[in-house]
Amino acid sequence: MESNIVKAKVIGHQEILDFLGLLFYEFYDKRLKTDSRSFRIIKKLIDELDEGFYFLVEYPYVEKYYRDIYYNYLSTKHNPYSRNSIRVNIFSKEIDYDDFENCSISSDCFLGYFTIRPTSPYIIGHSYISPKAFSKNKTNNIATYIKRSIIEGVRLVSPAFPYSNQDGEFMTCAETSLSLILNYFGAKYSNYNSLLPSTILTLLLDHSDQRQTPSSGLHFEQISHILNKVGFGPVLYMKEVFGKEFNSLISIYIDSKIPIIAGISSKDENFNHSVVIIGQQNIQEIDYTNLNKLITQGKQNKYVFLDELRRKFIANDDNLPPYSIIDLDKPTSNYPPNKTYTDTEIFTFVVPLYKKIYRDADKAKYTIKKLLENKKVGYKFKSDIIIRVLLTSSSSFKNYIRNLKDFNKNIELFILQTHMPKFIWLAEIYDARTFPQNLEAKAIIVSDSTDPIEDLDIEDVLFFACYPDKTIVMDSEYDINFDMFENEENNDAELNKDDDSSNSGQLFATNTIKNEMELEKIIVLDDNFNNYTYYSNYK
């Protein structure tokens, strides 16, 4: 029964389906009937893959998440279950088993894999399929990590975000979403660990009043509790509380490449589900026709935030194949026609923030708006503007600045020397008339993410702001070298011009250092900001 590797070279979707049906019967003693839910699930996945792929099928395969479920739950049942999974590796070109024997296969044609387990009808186990395997994802931005796999002794790599069906007994959608998120962060960042399903349940023990298996689902407070326990600083948002800002907050976090767990509910309350939102539609594909209606008149500028424009997102929903494209206002539009699914909404989400990010997206966005509209440290743009707010790591941002071509060297030096926390809030300002055709930012504002206090001075929140013809920096003992101004002798009268002449600032030069303790920290540099293009964590 438990034979060694089964290798198969299969061309076309129908053949792989037939072949998997045979394997399912042989190894799990169950037929994959064409009218069964199991068959429909696997057919839908294969149908969504691009055509012309080749598959290498392995059995037995030890899929650790399923094995954990088997030992902690399925093996305790009277009915027998196999402990083994089937692994289906996907290749974009024709392969031969000899390619593995000769080690002549490379990762270029490897598109990840999916696993099958005997938990009908939800038979797809933990899987790592590259977004490139789906034509729908050619331009979408999706959070992935490089999944390393050893197939027949050959190490192959492919980008992927984990995907799995729920088994419906040990893991419902809630535990599955948690598992996927933890798997992603654990594999990508050293700060976190991937957790096996049984470990997730153990962590919930002190937060559950009833038996945990079979699972009856989790509420979002429990999901947030697990994230908190494993080292994140999760924040929960409810749509009925945050109102129209709710979708914007999702957009900001996803633009920052932070996957979130979102809850979907139907108006008739028959359907309460969770999914992982992992990516977004490319900015070129956003509908900008309503842009003018969204523009707000501020104190200095007419502006709209990019996160307020309606766009589509990418989600791993265990009821659908990987990388489903969803609309936040119609999250189940890809579901089969059913009265329950016609009127649904995302009612909540939890974002697994790094635990030292204390200023969340809602407060950060407001802070950016206040800074930009400030008459002293803000800027009055000549045309309507689009403001993009996102969270990023200061090291990635500095690396980006370092690699910009023809970027102002003075500004670059200030940015690189500015001492910042691990994560920063970045705002990019674009000309609304030419965005997204022209992705050169008119300005950027970088602010702190680690202080949630409302009563802070500008110098405690703002790191720097670069505008078309001036840059605001904060004087600091460590960050800004006074020597950089040492040669400043040209006391250009223009620099002292101010709208209130009685308050004119001092020209900053070495001779002012003696009064350092009495000096204000905000410094305006007379430097042009240009050649900065759209920054993305997804690149």
């Binding site: 419902t172 959608c173 809630a174 699972s215 009856s216 689902g217 509420h219 979002f220 407070e221 947030s224 924040v235 948002y237 409810m238 509380v241 945050f242 979907i264 509910s265 309460n272 589900h273 909540t348 969340d360 407060k363 407001y366 802070t367 206040k370 400030n374 002293k376 440290v377 060297k409 003075n410 030096l413 206090i453 409302e454 009563d455 001075d457 500008i458 110098e459 004087d475 003992e477 460590y478 070298n481 020597d483 950089m484 040492e486 400043e488 040209n490 620099l495 101010d498 209130d500 308050n503 600032g505 001092q506 020209l507 000096l519 204000e520 905000i522 410094i523 540099l525 007379d526 430097d527």
Partner: protein
């Protein structure tokens, strides 16, 4: 923090930048503008997060 090496590195750049330090009055005016409404917004935002936490127990997803 200012090690010799660090200072040397900076000295090598030796760049000249036209700059102006904001006066105390300017900074006070900027901060006044900046803080106007901030306390109310943050208080409301914190309340919303607390309310979200409370309501998160209402619905079980499965």
């Amino acid at each position: 923090m200012k090690t010799n090496q660090f200072t040397t590195l900076k000295h090598k750049k030796n760049r000249t930048v036209k700059a102006r330090r904001l006066s105390s009055n300017e900074v006070a005016s900027a901060n006044k503008q900046f803080k106007a409404g901030m306390e109310e917004y943050f208080r409301e935002s914190n309340n919303k997060i607390a309310m979200s936490k409370k309501k998160a127990k209402d619905t079980i997803v499965k």
